[in-house]
Symmetry: C2
Subunit: 901 residues, 2 copies
C-alpha cells in the first residue's frame, strides 16, 4: 500500500482530485507543484494511514517508516539540504490536512529538525543566531504543547498548560531584562530562553525535549493523527457534519521562513474578495514573520494591495508597493490558480529572502453574499456553467442573505461604541458575555448573547455557535473568529482594538464607556460597527441583491420539486409568497382554537355529555374557522392550500389551573368536579401515542364535519367571487385505510351538502398525512382512496425511532458525542430508516394511483439534504417554514443538477 | 347470476363444498339431499345476494323474484303441495345460514303461507284445527317481532316489544280461562288468540298482518338479510372474528311439523358426545313439539337413547324406546353422516306423523376435551390422518384443558346448593350478578362474576363473555347458554331447575338458601354442581388426559417452530418446562430490581452525582442479580435462556410520595430537594418514547456492565459445576446498529474479563430485541453484529401504529365497533403492517447472517394466528407466557401442516 505521496521539483505523486486520500492541503500542494508553481518540497501521509492508526490501537502500518525515509531523501534532493545535517540541515513542518478544511482544529509542528547538532550549522549558514534560536524556541513551545503534554495524557486546566508556563517564563525574562517586545531579544537571549524551556519541560512533563530529528518528526506525525480525535476536532466535525471516518492526512514539508529578515514576509490572500465577492485580489501580509503570525491574528496585518485599502488600513504599506515584482508574480499565480481551479482560492505564501514560495491553495471560504456574487460573476465570465454556479453556493449561504439586519434608521441614530473589521455579515443584537461557557449557558436559557473575546481559539467554538454574534479585540479578516463566523453566516466583528476587556470583572472599557456582562449591544457585521443598546433587527431583504435574484431564477428554472410553505395565517402566507412559496403544504388548524374567544367552544365540546350537546358546541366554532380559511385561501388564490384537520389530543385544550377550573365551572354552569373528572379522564401516559389525529375525528365526527364545512363554505364563498382557490383537505395520523375512508366519507358528504346549499360546484382533493410507519407499509391500501400524501416526517421520525422529541434530552447529546448518531434525525432526515419507509410509501402509493400527489411537510422540508432525498424519491413538493422557502428552492435545484440523467 | 339453489327429491343444485356461497346450513342441506337422505325440499338464496343487498341500498338483484318463483315451483313438485293453495297448501320456513354458524344471532320465520285462504284447506286436510291455529299464532308472533316491528324501525325497551305484548295477551287469556298450560288451549282458543294478536299488531305497529303468502315470504327473506347487521350479530362476529363482508344466505324450505300429534316429534343430536367426545349417539328430543322448543330450552327435553341417560334423566322416555324403528333409521343416518363428513355432526330432525325428516347437519361444537378425544379416536379409527386430527382441534380448545378447576378436596367439603347440566367444562368462582350489563360492568372493575339467568338469549352474549361462568335455571345441553359457553370453553351449568330467581330483588332462593347479588359461588362445570362460597381454583392438569398427551406428541413431532417461554423466575421457569417450554425467550430483569432490598441500590444509582458514585451503587446490585441468574439458568439447564438487559426508564424506580422522599433523603443523607429535583429531571412526556432500553445502557454503561457481569459470573459458576447453561444476552430497544455495537463491546469485554477471572470458558451469544420500525428497516446492518433477533411485538405494534397500549381506551372500543379494526392488534399480530416489518427484518437479517436465530417474545407469541405468521416467516421460535406454551406448540403444528410444501 502506497502510504506516502511526494511532491517537489514541479512533479508530484498526487493531484487535486485525490482529496479523499491526501486531504485538501496535500492534494492542492501536489496540484500546484504539477502546475510548476514554486512549492517547498514535501510529502503527504494518506488519510488511510489515519484510519489504520485508529483501527489498530494507534499504531502505524509496518512499512510506513520506510516510505517516509525514502520521501525525505527526495525532499533533500529537491531542496538541496539534508535532514539532520550538521552543515545545512533541512527543517520540516508537520501539518494536518483533512478532506474538508477544519481551520485550527488540528495540530501543527514547525521547525522540526532543529537539534543541538544542526543548530550550529544553520547559524553558520544564515549568520543569524537570533532567527535560529527564535525558531528553536517556537519548535520547543509547539512541540511541548502539541506532542509531549498530550502524549503524556495530561489535561491541564485552562491557563496552566505547558504552553502557558513557557509563555510565563518568556514574559518574566522580558520583564527582568526590561524588554518591551520580542524584537528586543537577541540570539543569546533566545538561547537562554530555550534552555529554560527545556528544563521546565523536563520538570513538568518528566521527559527530555527530543534532540533527534526523526524522533521530533514521528512525534509530530503522531500528534497530528492524534488530534483528529481531539475534543475540538470532534466538536467542529459535529457542527459541520464531517464524518469521523474520513480521517486526516499529514503533510510533511520543507520549511521556508518569512522571518529571516526584511526581505522575508508571509501572507494570506483570496483571489476574490471573500466578504463581498467582488473580483479583486484581496489579502493580508506581514513583513519578517512566520505564517502563523498572520493567521493567529496576533499582529494586525497589512493590506496586500492599494485597491483594497480601507480607512482603517490606509496608513499600512501594501505588498504591491513594498515588493512590486513579487506582488506581480503573486498576482499572476492568483490568476493562473483561479483559471485552473475555476473557483475563488484562499492562498498562503511565504517570501524567503526575496523568493516567493506558495504554501497552500484551497477553495476560499466566503460569505453567502460573496458566494452568490462569485458564482454569478463566474457564470457571466463564462468560467463556469449555470449549473456549476448553482452548485458553488451552499444552501446555507443562501440562508445568510435571509438573515436579519439592523434597522437602518435606528442604526443611524444609535450610539457607536467601537469599530472593527466586518468579518461576518448581517446584524446581531444581544447581551454581552465573556466566556464560551457563559454564551452556551445563557443561550440555553433563551437569552440572546454576544460573545466578546480578546481573540477566539478553537476551544471557543461551542460558545461561538451559541452566540448571536461574535466580537473580538484582536485578529484580522482571516483570523479564527472571522473564518468560523463566515462559515456559519454569523454576524462577527474582529480586530476591534479599542476594546479593553477585563475578563476578571467581566467588563469592557471603550474609552469612557463601560460595558458590563449582560449589557445589550448591537452589531452590524457587514460594516464592522458596534452600537450600545438594542437596535431593532429587520428581516432580510435578499430580493434587493441582483446576483441573488439571478441565481435564484436559474435555480427555479432547473428545479423539478415544487416548494410550498407551512403557514397558519394570512400574514405567514404573504411572507411565504414573497419568499417564492408555490402553495401551502401544511396549514395547521389547532392553533386557531387557542384564541380566548374560541377556546370556550372547544372546552364546551370537550365537556359535552351527549353527541347533540357536543355538536352544538363545535358548531359555535364554525364562523371563526370559516373566516380563518377565507383569509388563507384568498391570500393563496391560484395556489394549492393543504389544510390539516384537528390533530392534538383534547387535553391540550383543557389544561387548567384551579382558578380556571372555577371560572369554567361558573361559565358552563357545571360542577368543578365534573371538569376535574373530565380532565382526569383525558389524561394520557403518552400523549404522542394517544387519542389524536384522525382518531379524534373518528370518535367525534362532528369535529371533522365542522372543519370540513368551514373549509368548503370558505371555498364556495371565494369561488362565488371568482377567486380561484384550491383546497386540499388533509386527514392526520392515518394508520389504516379504514381510518382514512371513515373520514373521507364524512368530508365528501359535507362537500356535497355545501355545494347543494350554495348552489355552486368547486374542486377539492382529500389526502392524508403519512406520519406513521404503518401508513407507509400500507400506502397502497391508503392510496386507493387518498388523492395525496404529505409526509409528516417529525412524527414519522418519532415513531420509526421510537423516541419523542420532547424526551430525547437525556440521551441525544450523548449519542452525538459518542457518534452513535452522526446527525440529529429531527434536523436532517434519517435516510436509512425513515427514508426507507418514505421510499416504500411513494412506490406503493403510486402503484395504485399513478398521479398521486406527494409532498413532505415536516421540518425536514427546509433541510437541504432532506430536500435532495425528496427529489431523488420523486416527490412533487416540499413544504417548510416561510424563511426556509428560498433554501428549499435552491436545494431543489442542486438536487435536480446532481441527479440529472 | 344464479342467486337461488334448489334442493329436494334427492337432487340438489349445491353441495357441502359451497359453504361460502350457500352458508353452512344451505350447503349441508344440499349435501344431505344428494346423499339420498329425506330432507324437506327448499332452496337457498346465496350470500352474494346479501352482499348485493348491502351494497345497493338494501335492494335485491332484478331477477331474484323470478328465480325464487321458479324454485318454489320445484319445491311444490317435490312436496306435492302448492304454496298459497286453498286445499293443500305448502308452508315454508325462512332461516339464515352464514358461512360459519352463528347460533341464534339471526332471524327465523316459520309457518309462512298460512293465510285466511289456506287455513281452511289445511284444517280440512289435517283435521286438526288446534294444530293449524297454533302454527298460525306462532307465525304471527315471529313475524310481528322479526319482520314488522323491525322494519317499522321501532326499537322497544326490553320487555315492551310486540312479542312480549302478544305473550301477555296469551297469558291473560289463559288466566281468564283458568288454563294451566298451552296444551289446554283448543283450536277455537288459538283462533281467538290470533285475532287478538292481529288487532294488537295493527294498533301498535300501524299495519295489517299480511294475508298474502308471497308478502309473508319476502318479508321473512328481507328480515333475515337485515338481521346480518343486527346488533347481536355484529357483537357475536366481533367476538368470533367473523368478517362482516361474508354475509348470510337465506334458506327457504318446506315446513314439516313435529307437533301434529303423538306420532310427531323433534330432536337435536350429536353423532358423538359433545361434552366428553366419547363415541356414543347423544341427543335430546321432544314429543309433539316444534324444533324451536328443544333449542330454546323452554321444555326440558328427553334423552335420545338408553345409553346416555343420566341420574337426572333416568325417568324420561328415550326415542330409542318410544319409536325404536325411527331411532334405528336415525342411527343409520348418524353413521352415514359421520362416515361421509368424517367429523362429529350436530343434526336436527323432525318426525312428522311417523316420517323422519332431516333438517340440518353441521360440524358439531364440542368442548376442548371432546374435540381432542374425538380427533384422537378418529385417527385411531383410521377415519382421519394425524394431520387432520391436529387440524380438527382449535388451539382455543387446547386452552380449555389448561383452564383451572375447583380444588377436589375443598369441593368435597363445600356446600352444594344446586345441581344442573354440565354444559361448559372447568371450574368457575365468582360473585353472583343477574344482568349481562352488570356482568360486564363488574368485570371491568376487575371483579370475577358468575352470570345467573333464567335462560340466556343472544342479547346476553357480552355479559356471558365477561363472566367467569354462566348459570341458568332453564335449558338443556343444547340451549343457547350451553352452546355459547362451550364454544368459548367457559364454565357453564344449565337447567338448574331449583333456582328461583328474583330479578327485581337481585336474589336467588334455592330451597332454604338465599343468594344475593355479590355473594360468592363456585361452580364445577364439568359435573354441573354449584357450591356456596369460594372454592380454590386449581391449575389445569392436561397431562393427565391421555388423548391430550397423544395429540400433543403428534403436534410436537410435526411442528418446526420451537416454543419458549417468557419467565423471570425459577418458579415460572419450572411451570413452563412442565408445559413443554424449550427455553426462555424473554427473561426481564427489571422486575428483579423492585424488591425492597434492591430498589435502594437502584435509587442510589439514580441519585449519584458522578460516574464513580453511580458505579459503586450499581455494583451493590450485582450479588442479587447473579443469584437471580443462577436460579433461572440452573432451572433451564440445557436450554437457551434469553436475558434482556434493563429496559424501563429510570423514573419508574423512583416514584415516591412525600414520606418516601423524606425517608430516602435520610437514608442517603441528601436533601429532599435534591431528590425532588432528580425526579423532576427524569420526568418524561412520553415514557414509552423516552430514555429507556439500550439508551440507558449507553448513557450509563455501568448498568450494562453490572448486568453482564451478573449473567457471566452465574454462567461461569454453573459451568464450573458441570451444568450446561446457554445464556443469550439481549440488548433492548435497538434502533441503529451503532447502538447495538456500543452495548456489544461492553458485554463482550465483561465476558472476556469474567472468563479470565474465573479461569473458565463458556459459550454465550449476544442479540437484540427488534421492537422499533427502524430496527426492522436496518436489520441487515444490525445483524452484522447481532447473533439473534427477538421481535418485541408489543412495542413494535405501538410504534408501527403510533399508539400506546395505555392510551387506546379513548378510541379502540369505537374502532372495533365501527369495524375500523377487525381485531385488537395487541392481541393478534397485525400482518399487513407490523407483519410486513417483521418479514422485512427476517429477510434483511438473514441476508447478512444466514443462521441468524430469530424468535418472537411479545404477547403475540401465544396467539395462534400470530404463531402461524411466525412459522410462515421462518422464525426459529416463539416465546409466550407459561400457560400459553401448549397452545403455541399446537398452533405451530397446525401452521406446519397448513404450509407444508
Amino acid at each position: 500500500m502506497k502510504s506516502v505521496y511526494f511532491f517537489g521539483n514541479k512533479k508530484a505523486d498526487g493531484n487535486a482530485d485525490m482529496k479523499n486520500l491526501l486531504g485538501g492541503k496535500g492534494a492542492n500542494l501536489a496540484e500546484m507543484t504539477n502546475l510548476g508553481i514554486a512549492v517547498p518540497a514535501g510529502f503527504t501521509i494518506t488519510t488511510e494511514v489515519c484510519t489504520y492508526y485508529y483501527q489498530n490501537a494507534q499504531s502505524f502500518p509496518q512499512d510506513l517508516d520506510k516510505q517516509v525515509k525514502l520521501s525525505i531523501k527526495k525532499v533533500e534532493q529537491a531542496m538541496g539540504k539534508k535532514f539532520g545535517d550538521k552543515k545545512d540541515p533541512l527543517l520540516l513542518s508537520v501539518r494536518s490536512g483533512a478532506r474538508m478544511s477544519m481551520p485550527g482544529m488540528m495540530e501543527t509542528v514547525l521547525n522540526i529538525g532543529l537539534t543541538s547538532k544542526t543548530i550550529p550549522g544553520i547559524i553558520a549558514k544564515t549568520d543569524n543566531s537570533r532567527f535560529v534560536y527564535d525558531a528553536y524556541r517556537r519548535l520547543i513551545m509547539m512541540y511541548a504543547d502539541v506532542v509531549m503534554e498530550k502524549s503524556a495524557g495530561i489535561e491541564p486546566q485552562e491557563g496552566h498548560g505547558i504552553r502557558h508556563q513557557l509563555e510565563k517564563i518568556l514574559n518574566l525574562y522580558k520583564k527582568e531584562k526590561k524588554y518591551k517586545s520580542d524584537i528586543d531579544l537577541s540570539g543569546e537571549d533566545w538561547k537562554i530562553i530555550t534552555e529554560k524551556f527545556k528544563s521546565r519541560i523536563k520538570k513538568v512533563l518528566g521527559g527530555e525535549f527530543p534532540d533527534d530529528p526523526y524522533e521530533q518528526l514521528w512525534g509530530g506525525i503522531k500528534a497530528v493523527f492524534q488530534s483528529w480525535n481531539g475534543k475540538r476536532a470532534i466538536s467542529y466535525r459535529r457542527i459541520e457534519n464531517i464524518p469521523g471516518e474520513w480521517g486526516t492526512a499529514v503533510n510533511v514539508q520543507a520549511m521556508v521562513f518569512g522571518n529571516t529578515g526584511d526581505l522575508s514576509a508571509t501572507g494570506v490572500a483570496f483571489t476574490r474578495n471573500p466578504a463581498t465577492g467582488s473580483n479583486q485580489f484581496y489579502g493580508e501580509w506581514l513583513k519578517n514573520a512566520q505564517g502563523e503570525d498572520v493567521v493567529a491574528g496576533i499582529r494586525t496585518p497589512q493590506p496586500l494591495n492599494e485597491a483594497t485599502k480601507t480607512t482603517a488600513s490606509t496608513h499600512l504599506e501594501s505588498l504591491e508597493s513594498f515588493l512590486p515584482d513579487i506582488y506581480l508574480e503573486l498576482n499572476t499565480i492568483r490568476k493562473n490558480l483561479e483559471q485552473h481551479y475555476r473557483d475563488m482560492q484562499d492562498i498562503e505564501f511565504t517570501i524567503e529572502e526575496g523568493k516567493l514560495w506558495m504554501l497552500q491553495t484551497r477553495t476560499g471560504k466566503r460569505t453567502g453574499g460573496a458566494a452568490i456574487t462569485i458564482a454569478v460573476d463566474m457564470v457571466n465570465e463564462k468560467l463556469i456553467s449555470k449549473e456549476e454556479g448553482i452548485m458553488r453556493v451552499s444552501p446555507n449561504q443562501i440562508d445568510e442573505l435571509l438573515h436579519p439586519r439592523l434597522d437602518i434608521k435606528e442604526e443611524k441614530s444609535a450610539e457607536v461604541v467601537a469599530k472593527g473589521l466586518p468579518a461576518g455579515p448581517g446584524g446581531g443584537v444581544g447581551q454581552v458575555v465573556f466566556t464560551p461557557d457563559d454564551a452556551e449557558a445563557w443561550a440555553k436559557e433563551g437569552k440572546k448573547v454576544i460573545l466578546v473575546r480578546e481573540e477566539t481559539s478553537p476551544e471557543d467554538v461551542h460558545g461561538m455557535h451559541a452566540a448571536e454574534a461574535i466580537l473580538t479585540a484582536k485578529g484580522g479578516m482571516t483570523s479564527h473568529a472571522a473564518l468560523v463566523a463566515r462559515g456559519w453566516g454569523k454576524c462577527c466583528i474582529v480586530g476591534c482594538a479599542d476594546l479593553n476587556i477585563n475578563y476578571d470583572n467581566k467588563e469592557i472599557t471603550i474609552k469612557n464607556t463601560l460595558i458590563k456582562e449582560g449589557d445589550w449591544v448591537s452589531m452590524n457585521g457587514s460594516k464592522g460597527v458596534v452600537y450600545l443598546g438594542q437596535v431593532t433587527l429587520q428581516p432580510a431583504d435578499p430580493e434587493s441583491n441582483n446576483a441573488y435574484r439571478e441565481l435564484m431564477s436559474w435555480a427555479d428554472n432547473i428545479r423539478i420539486l415544487k416548494v410550498r410553505t407551512n403557514a397558519d395565517s394570512p400574514e405567514d402566507s404573504k411572507q411565504a409568497i414573497a419568499f417564492g412559496a408555490e402553495g401551502i403544504g401544511l396549514c395547521r388548524t389547532e392553533h386557531m382554537f387557542f384564541d380566548p374567544k374560541r377556546i370556550m367552544g372547544m372546552r364546551k365540546m370537550i365537556l359535552a355529555e351527549s353527541e347533540h350537546e357536543r355538536r352544538s358546541a363545535v358548531m359555535e366554532l364554525l364562523p371563526y374557522q370559516r373566516k380563518d380559511f377565507i383569509g388563507i385561501l384568498n391570500t393563496m388564490a391560484g395556489k394549492p392550500v393543504t389544510i390539516r384537520l384537528l390533530d392534538p389530543p383534547l387535553h391540550e385544550f383543557i389544561q387548567l389551573n384551579d382558578i380556571q377550573v372555577k371560572d369554567l365551572a361558573n361559565e358552563l354552569n357545571v360542577t368543578e368536579q365534573k371538569i376535574r373528572d373530565r380532565i382526569a379522564s383525558l389524561h394520557e401516559f403518552n400523549p404522542m401515542l394517544g387519542h389524536r389525529g384522525c382518531r379524534l375525528g373518528i370518535a367525534y365526527p362532528e369535529i371533522t364535519e365542522m372543519q370540513a364545512r368551514a373549509i368548503f363554505e370558505a371555498t364556495a364563498d371565494l369561488i362565488g367571487k371568482g377567486i380561484n382557490v384550491m383546497p386540499e383537505v388533509m386527514v392526520p395520523l392515518v394508520g389504516t385505510n379504514t381510518e382514512f375512508e371513515n373520514q373521507e366519507v364524512i368530508i365528501r358528504n359535507i362537500a356535497d351538502t355545501v355545494m347543494k346549499e350554495k348552489k355552486i360546484s368547486f374542486h377539492y382533493i382529500i389526502g392524508t398525512m403519512i406520519e406513521l410507519p404503518r401508513a407507509c407499509l400500507t400506502a397502497d391500501e391508503i392510496a386507493e382512496h387518498a388523492e395525496f400524501f404529505s409526509f409528516g416526517t417529525n412524527d414519522l421520525t418519532q415513531t420509526t425511532y421510537g423516541f419523542s422529541r420532547d424526551d430525547i434530552g437525556g440521551f441525544l447529546p450523548g449519542y452525538l458525542e459518542q457518534n452513535i448518531f452522526s446527525k440529529d434525525p429531527f434536523q436532517s432526515l434519517d435516510k436509512a430508516g425513515v427514508g426507507k419507509l418514505i421510499s416504500m410509501a411513494v412506490t406503493k402509493g403510486r402503484s395504485v394511483r399513478k398521479n398521486l400527489k406527494i409532498g413532505i411537510c415536516g421540518e425536514h422540508g427546509g433541510d437541504p439534504a432532506s430536500v435532495e432525498f425528496c427529489h431523488q424519491n420523486g416527490l412533487d413538493y416540499v413544504s417548510c417554514s416561510p424563511f426556509r422557502v428560498p433554501i428549499a428552492r435552491f436545494a431543489a435545484a442542486q438536487a435536480a443538477i446532481k441527479y440529472r440523467d
